[in-house]
Symmetry: C2
Subunit: 191 residues, 2 copies
């Protein structure tokens, strides 16, 4: 591995935010999954969670422009499983929902360990997820369309988290576990 | 038209920002155009500009989830044409570019009349656009992938503009020209 590439990977590892994650519930368009994975990588998210409907095939993440190696896609077969996983990590669970009860996404503290749940392209977030979450959040809209594209909404929230975490000094300090760092350093040399 | 729908359209019109626009140079994936149009509507952008390559067919915006009626897509056959149009309106012209010369998108004043130019999915922004623009801007990334999805990058910048303009009191004050307002009020009653 060239010294430049080693330095690049080490800088990336210093910016990883293992206590920030995003979870996609029943997303069915591959380009939306791809776009979310690219954004996740760009803000330092290490794992993207996906809840798949049993009957639907899993969509692959081959098209996420080379991010597959750097962001792990972790599958769950139910919403409860995914939320339990986030609770085990001490994360607040935020669901995006186009509702009057939802809080403006900029009014949330994302420096806390956080899991962000995004809903299906057509039906939105499930009633189960709504019931399990700590908080509903929304990206305000002042036009006539009813919703944003799901990967767009995810990006707006993840970049707000990035902004807050940068101000709080969360970047440039390695918190990712050493085993995973070794894996990335090893795989990064053998792409 | 019901009183509720009339009120909704009037509120939308009060939030329109005719001096903020986005321009897509040679974008070829319809879902990216759709996503940008939805975001544009959501922040109050009235016109999305598209520069089409002569040989490529124009992509339609039928899939922008009902926003077609509320956001006009204006076509140009060359980058120079589009930039001239923005200059005539006194707009600063910003190009997104993954370069060391680009400024962090959060360091720009979007309360000024602004045109934001986004590049092609594969090749990015053209040399011509770079030469004509006032400023290159970038959304910072701390991972390993090289770029964001184009509709994601556009949304992050448009919502930063929305944030700044909201703070500056630009929303809730009608500035859209009366003829266009009448058109929307008329068409909104006859969808
Ligand atoms: C196309 S939307 C789903 C629309 C669905 N008809 C509904 O009512 O929820 C798909 C997902 O994108 C996200 N999303 C879209 N617009 C959003 C907004 N303004 N605020 C927060 N999340 C949004 C949510 O995760 C949503 O479940
Ligand atoms: C997939 S990118 C193009 C990548 C191309 N290889 C390049 O080097 O420009 C498509 C468009 O998305 C926008 N874009 C993607 N990532 C961006 C970022 N981090 N900052 C600003 N714009 C970005 C730009 O408009 C870019 O032209």
């Amino acid at each position: 591995m060239s010294p430049e590439r080693l330095a690049r990977i080490n800088a990336m590892l210093d910016n990883r935010q293992p206590d920030l994650t995003v979870c996609l519930e029943h997303i069915h368009k591959p380009h939306n999954l791809s776009a979310v994975i690219r954004t996740a990588d760009a803000v330092g998210v290490t794992d993207v969670h996906a809840i798949w409907l049993a009957e639907s095939g899993r969509i692959s993440n081959h098209k996420a422009s080379g991010s597959g190696q750097w962001v792990d896609v972790r599958s769950h077969t139910s919403t409860a499983d995914a939320v339990n996983h986030f609770r085990d990590q001490g994360m607040q669970v935020l669901v995006t929902n186009l509702s009057e009860d939802a809080v403006d996404f900029r009014d949330i503290d994302y420096t806390r360990p956080t899991a962000l749940m995004m809903g299906n392209e057509r039906d939105g977030i499930s009633a189960e997820a709504l019931g399990l979450a700590d908080q509903q959040i929304i990206v305000p809209m002042v036009g006539m369309v009813q919703s944003l594209n799901v990967s767009v909404a995810a990006a707006l929230i993840l970049y707000e988290a990035q902004r807050q975490r940068q101000q709080a000094g969360c970047y440039g300090v390695r918190t990712l576990d050493p085993v995973r760092c070794q894996r990335h350093l090893f795989e990064g040399g053998h792409p």
